[in-house]
């Protein structure tokens, strides 16, 4: 017993910081319908600002605390609400998820651009970290622990009093149903929601500065871990009860420390499973908590007043314009191939090769999110499964990577199917969290296992491995890598286009449109879900293997879960519904990365900032900003085409939106 308490008690302070964020998550989710992944980023911002003010600007601790936690953190939350989330219709769950994920990806990257210095851990507030205030079961409680416990207790108590004794709680529940509907009842719903954001952001900022002193330096990573533990705790409460979430958070902290004490330090369980504990709790809650399985998609009774999505630009342009555009595409493609084979400098050829590999990987997101209508946050992990399978086969059995790629794709598809079967009852947020949990578990296993993942250096180098140019005909020192990667991308692209045009694509489109009606005409939704996961997993596996072949080494860091989030953000920015969206996203990503390589080191993360801010437009333009720009420029050029090719009519299927374009052009012609 003594030993147990000795292990368990030090987990309490950690659990307390988790609890603050867990409560913040439940509060915003219940009051605003937004599941805010970005609390981790807000906690990080508060901690970084707090530390920078003290260490660089030499502010007093209290002033720094007030600025970071009482002023900036709530203002940040308020800005999120006013500028972003309040503009997203409550029923658009995908937009809410994508927006909060892009904030999670973008804000830490942005902070690194503005505050590139490394800061040491900040001081703990009020209590002295070097003083042992008391001992419980042999475990000393120093100032850090005291701060975490005392302030968490105070803040949560104040929260509880406010929620129970003021009418605010009731109004918040109304606002989550439909902000527009309670507004019709005369409630200032915007105000209620804003208050929820301010309070929860304050909690997140507070958690940030309580957690920061525990780590040597102020970096984003520990805050992401904090976030996952908080999500797991909130999931245990089915995002309903703040009290349950807080208790679950403390228990997760305690369980982690207890297991840490008992498990042998060299064991697989210690190195792989223990860091995954919060994710395992999350997955468990998703699978077994009835409240999580029934986690209803927020539906807005007034959703039908929202205008429908405009049709794709390609569907509504005049045939003449369509012909010109497709000719232009072939010209660009031809120029690209010729350039790659002739004058392209080696370093740029390799960058563009990576673009081809990323294109393939990103197409897996087009499949699952664009065609399947499901948000998966495990795509980098699935790519990793494929890549490491191929790499292991190459290392141990000498199988060429290109052949191993097929095995890897099959294995990644199998893992994806397993994931699909486990999450059959989940949708939207539940599925996103489940896939995130899976990605994190994969990360922890592959990163910590020397045998599977090759340790910190990764598996490789792959340069001496036969990567499998067909029959050895191609000279690996020439452009063989380009030709091979390019061919794979072409095959994958054509396959996806065929599937989209074919029966499977139609059935998926129906399922995306209305699951109720799809089942009602005899479509097996379970099978659809499994099929799209399998296809997407296979394509991700192929993309991952191509990436490893490109880079010559299979490094677990390449498939970190943060990339899963970032990739979704990138593809959503450029357009998740079209094949060209994924390809343009991939090339944008690698080219910007390469160009930023010429800039000072602190700008390295600017790519993510750019795409994250691009993804913030998702709510306005769910078709992607590129697609939006295409439609806009098309409308601008349409009059010219009318003049050049008089009498050309818009394509079939264009009686909806394109009337606007047609109307404009007619006027222009007459004018």
């Amino acid at each position: 017993m003594e030993q147990f308490l000795g292990f368990a008690v030090p987990g309490i302070p950690y659990g307390c910081t988790y609890a603050l964020v867990a409560v913040a998550l439940v509060l915003t989710y219940r009051a605003t319908g937004v599941f805010n992944f970005a609390f981790a980023a807000q906690a990080y911002v508060a901690a970084l600002l707090f530390t920078a003010l003290i260490q660089s600007a030499h502010f007093s601790e209290w002033l720094a605390f007030v600025i970071a936690v009482v002023v900036v953190s709530p203002l940040l939350g308020l800005a999120f609400d006013r500028l972003l989330f309040s503009r997203i219709p409550n029923s658009n769950n995908m937009a809410k998820l994508v927006t909060s994920i892009s904030l999670l990806v973008g804000i830490p990257a942005l902070m690194q651009v503005f505050i590139p210095q490394n800061y040491y851990a900040p001081p703990s507030i009020v209590f002295n970290p070097n003083t042992v205030y008391f001992t419980l079961a042999g475990a000393p409680f120093n100032g850090l622990d005291m701060s975490a416990i005392v302030f968490t207790a105070l803040v949560l108590f104040a929260m509880g009093v406010m929620m129970r004794l003021t009418p605010l709680g009731l109004q918040m529940r109304g606002a989550v149903e439909s902000r527009r509907l309670v507004q019709l009842d005369g409630v200032n719903a915007g105000g209620v929601v804003a208050v929820a954001w301010v309070i929860s952001s304050f909690l997140a900022g507070f958690a940030g500065i309580l957690l920061a002193p525990n780590f040597g330096q102020v970096q984003a990573q520990p805050f992401l871990t904090l976030m996952v533990a908080a999500i797991a705790a909130a999931a245990c409460a089915a995002f309903r009860s703040m009290a349950v979430a807080a208790v679950a958070a403390v228990l997760i902290g305690v369980a982690t420390f207890t297991l840490q004490g008992y498990l042998p330090t060299q064991s697989f369980l210690f190195t792989s499973i223990l860091p995954s504990l919060p994710f395992l709790v999350l997955v468990g809650a998703l699978l077994f908590h009835p409240g999580m399985r029934k986690l209803e998609q927020a539906t807005d009774p007034l959703a039908s007043v929202d205008p429908p999505l405009p049709p794709l630009a390609a569907a509504v342009r005049t045939p003449a314009m369509g012909r010109v555009i497709s000719v232009l595409w072939y010209v660009v493609l031809g120029l690209f191939i010729v350039s790659m084979l002739t004058w392209m400098p080696r370093d740029w050829e390799s960058v563009l090769n990576q673009g081809l590999a990323f294109s393939t990987l990103f197409l897996s997101i087009t499949l699952i999110t664009g065609m399947g209508g499901q948000l998966s946050l495990a795509q980098a992990g699935l790519a990793g499964v494929g890549a490491f399978t191929a790499a292991q086969l190459a290392n141990h059995l000498g199988i060429p990577m290109m052949a191993g790629m097929l095995v890897g794709a099959a294995f990644a598809a199998a893992v994806a199917v397993l994931l699909a079967v486990l999450s059959l009852r989940l949708r939207g947020l539940g599925l996103a969290l489940m896939t995130l949990g899976a990605a994190l578990v994969f990360d922890n296993i592959i990163q910590s296992s020397q045998t599977l993942g090759g340790g910190s250096g990764g598996l490789g180098p792959m340069n001496n491995v036969d990567w499998g140019s067909p029959f050895g005909l191609l000279n690996p020192n020439g452009h063989a890598l380009f030709l091979a990667t390019f061919s794979v991308l072409v095959v994958v692209t054509v396959a996806i286009l065929m599937i989209r045009r074919g029966t499977v694509g139609r059935l998926l489109g129906a399922t995306r449109g209305s699951e109720t009606a799809a089942a009602g005409i005899g479509i097996n939704l379970t099978w659809q879900r499994i099929l799209i996961f399998a296809l997407s997993g296979a394509v991700a596996g192929i993309g991952g293997t191509l990436l490893v072949i490109q880079q010559g080494v299979a490094n677990p860091q390449q498939f970190n879960y943060v990339f899963s989030l970032a990739f979704v953000v990138i593809v959503v920015t450029t357009g998740v519904t079209t094949v060209e969206g994924a390809i343009q996203g991939a090339f944008g990503y690698v080219i910007i990365q390469k160009l930023l390589g010429y800039a000072p080191a602190q700008f390295a993360n600017l790519t993510f900032v750019l795409f994250a801010f691009g993804a913030l437009t998702y709510a306005q333009h769910p078709e992607g900003i590129l697609e939006f720009q295409k439609r806009r420029s098309m409308q601008r050029f349409e009059p010219l085409f009318e003049r050049l090719f008089p009498g050309s009519q818009p394509d079939a299927g264009s009686q909806g939106e394109p009337l606007i374009a047609g109307g404009l052009s007619e006027e222009a012609v007459r004018g």
Binding site: R501, G502, R506, G509, T516, A519, I523, G653
Partner: protein, 256 residues
């Protein structure tokens, strides 16, 4: 046996949500090719009963048989494949598809000829036969002119017709129509009634119709079942049930 017995047989079907009994002990049959109206005031449990027949809800008690086969435990899509088609009270259309696509999807879902490898070999283009069928159905419900319009550009009335056409494309033997006339004007309602009569007469499709517009019920149905507060209160020809004092009470209240 199955040919002799009723197409749809409900025996003591009951469904409760928490403490509220939405449907209690409902028993009635629908014969093949017959048209039955299911009427009753709001909250009578008509849509809940539909959901139990389609498998979107599980009935707590009682049995539902279709062509002599128990539907217990069968998921919605299997019931649809057995020949139960349906339209919805709140229009459920596939937002980014055209009218023609809706019917093509339903046709493919019915024939179950779609295969991944066929897509990959470009063998999934609509066949002439499929196109003809789809055209025929659109003609029947009067959507031919809107065939290539995305449903997002259609009004509620047309969406209801799209739903009906989609259900018909699945060639159901029993069509469950949930308030198909709500949102339609008088003229459109008359057209809809005509379509329902045609499919019953020419295709031999049995129709179970939930409807508030008693005019269309009177015109279309052979028989009516009246529900109130989850109970069946009357069954018979439309004229008979409308004379029933319980029905008059349910509809018009105490004062009559």
């Amino acid at each position: 046996m199955a040919e002799q017995g009723p197409l749809l047989a409900l025996r003591g079907v009951a469904k409760a949500f928490g403490g509220v009994s939405a449907v209690q002990d409902i028993t009635f049959d629908v014969q093949a090719g017959e048209s039955v109206g299911l009427v009753g005031p709001n909250g009578a449990g008509k849509t809940t009963l539909f959901n139990c027949v389609c498998g979107q809800l599980k009935n707590d008690r009682g049995s539902i048989e279709f062509e002599g086969r128990s539907l217990r435990g069968l998921p919605t899509y299997k019931r649809a494949r057995m020949g139960i088609g349906r339209t919805y009270q709140r229009a459920e259309v596939f937002a980014d598809m055209t009218v023609r696509d809706h019917l093509m999807v339903a046709e493919r879902a019915r024939s179950r000829t779609g295969r991944l490898w066929k897509d990959l070999c470009n063998m999934s283009r609509p066949t002439d036969e499929e196109c003809e069928k789809v055209e025929g159905t659109m003609e029947l419900v009067g959507l031919s002119e809107l065939a290539d319009t995305p449903v997002s550009a259609l009004g509620l009335g047309h969406c209801r017709l799209v739903e009906l056409a989609r259900a018909l494309a699945g060639e159901p033997r029993l069509l469950l129509a949930d308030e198909p006339s709500s949102g339609l004007d008088e003229h459109e309602t008359a057209d809809l009634a005509a379509v329902l009569r045609i499919i019953q007469r020419d295709r031999g499709t049995a129709v179970l119709l939930v409807e508030h517009d008693l005019g269309i019920v009177a015109e279309v149905v052979d028989r009516a079942v009246v529900m109130d507060l989850g109970n069946k209160i009357a069954e018979g020809t439309f004229a008979e049930v409308m004379e029933d004092p319980m029905v008059r009470h349910a509809y018009l209240g105490q004062s009559v």
